[in-house]
């Protein structure tokens, strides 16, 4: 029993070490979009992200690295935090403060990233994997096929199908906004 407990502790420590990247990813993303969130808000985002990561760990199949998976979760959490921050400041802050927050928080391009990530989530695991390897991993169709055990034609056909789905999803989101 002692050995089992010791092993579990070791496993937990390894997980905690790995998830130490969460605050750094959240801070780096905030920095790159112009630091719209305060330190306190970032701590909230970190805790929310950790909870979601924890909850979703059994779904993590290792198709991407842990860091890129966390990046996607934290990006969506940052968008949620920005919306909340804007709402809070709409009520509490004078207009001159609001302007800065609103201007820096969410340009249309960043909203598009959010939609893109939501669209990627709607693809099948295999489709998402192929799109990510192609664009985020910068791999050729041949290399993707080799890594996941499909012919080049199969990879291509799944890739095109995924693009069509994504395109349709983004168009529907735009129509919804309009």
């Amino acid at each position: 029993m002692k050995a089992v407990l010791a092993d579990r502790r070791e496993a937990f420590e390894a997980l905690a070490d790995r998830l130490d990247c969460v605050p750094r990813i959240v801070a780096a993303r905030n920095e790159r979009i112009g630091r719209p969130l305060s330190e306190e808000e970032l701590v909230d985002v970190v805790q929310n992200t950790l909870l979601i990561v924890w909850r979703k760990l059994p779904e993590f199949e290792g198709r991407s690295t842990l860091e890129t998976w966390i990046y996607r979760i934290s990006s969506l959490e940052i968008m949620n935090a920005l919306r909340k921050a804007r709402r809070r400041r709409d009520v509490a802050a004078p207009p001159e403060v609001l302007e800065g927050v609103a201007d820096r928080a969410a340009t249309p391009a960043r909203i598009e990233f959010e939609d893109l990530y939501l669209g990627l989530e709607r693809l099948t695991d295999e489709e998402r994997d192929i799109v990510r390897r192609k664009h985020f991993g910068e791999l050729t169709f041949e290399a993707i096929g080799k890594e996941i055990g499909l012919t080049v034609d199969m990879v291509k056909s799944r890739y095109y199908r995924s693009l069509a789905k994504l395109q349709q999803f983004l168009a529907s989101r735009r129509e919804g906004d309009g």
Binding site: V4, L15, V22, V46, Q47, L51, L66, H135, L166
Partner: protein, 228 residues
């Protein structure tokens, strides 16, 4: 009508793969007569740009994150996980709903079991990187001007190392091993002499190894030096 749609889709596929560009006469001709195709091309082009932009943003953010020594909330990671693991209601963060806490505690037990036992056939105690995250080779791949530096993405556990092995692939047949290096970083620089000694076409593999030498992940890809 269906034939026209198929024609549009085939052309769009060739465009998306980079086989033809938007300046191709065939694309121009089709766009001139089909507003639907024009719209499809525009949407596809926007999507590809968005994907590439998102990828750049992701790479940039992760690279920056790796450089940061400290960040808000860093001191709370272990505590948050400890609370979730312990499932102690009195110690939980205020925002945690009871059901979420219970779910987190359940996941903690599941994760603990997964990390400890790794499946029925593998009772090894070493936890290593999380749940078999894959190793992704980022460069070189496909046609390149020079091979070096070799780069990949994967987070090693303490004491782990990478093993990079390059084979000659000239002639589409896996030839002899031409380069090998053991590293602790996700990057392998080549000297000019090492670069020049590599053949016109290569297949390269990276294996991520635990401190004890057990393989945790590996990936392989090929590259061709265009100047050769």
């Amino acid at each position: 009508m269906n034939d026209e749609r198929n024609l549009d889709e085939l052309l769009l596929e060739r465009l998306s793969s980079g086989e033809i560009s938007e300046d191709d006469p065939e694309v121009h001709a089709r766009m001139a007569v089909s507003p639907a195709f024009r719209e499809l091309v525009q949407g596809r082009s926007e999507l590809l740009s968005l994907l590439n932009e998102a990828a750049r943003e992701e790479h940039g953010t992760l690279a920056r994150a790796a450089e940061l020594d400290d960040a808000p909330g860093r001191g709370t990671v272990r505590d948050s996980l400890e609370r979730a693991r312990a499932g102690g209601a009195g110690a939980r963060p205020l925002r945690l709903a009871p059901f979420a806490l219970a779910a987190a505690a359940l996941m903690a037990l599941t994760l603990g079991a997964m990390l400890m036992f790794g499946g029925d056939d593998d009772p090894g105690p070493a936890p290593g990187p999380l749940l078999g995250a894959p190793l992704t080779l980022t460069r070189p791949s496909g046609d390149v001007e020079r091979y070096g530096p070799f780069e990949w993405r994967y987070t090693l556990p303490r004491g782990g190392r990478f093993e990079l092995v390059v084979h000659d692939r000239t002639g589409d047949v896996e030839g002899p091993e031409v380069f090998r290096r053991s590293l602790e970083t996700n990057r392998c620089e080549l000297t000019n002499d090492e670069e020049l000694a590599l053949p016109a076409e290569i297949e390269w593999r990276v294996r991520a190894l635990r401190a004890g030498g057990e393989e945790m992940a590996s990936a392989v890809t090929s590259a061709r030096r265009s100047q050769d």
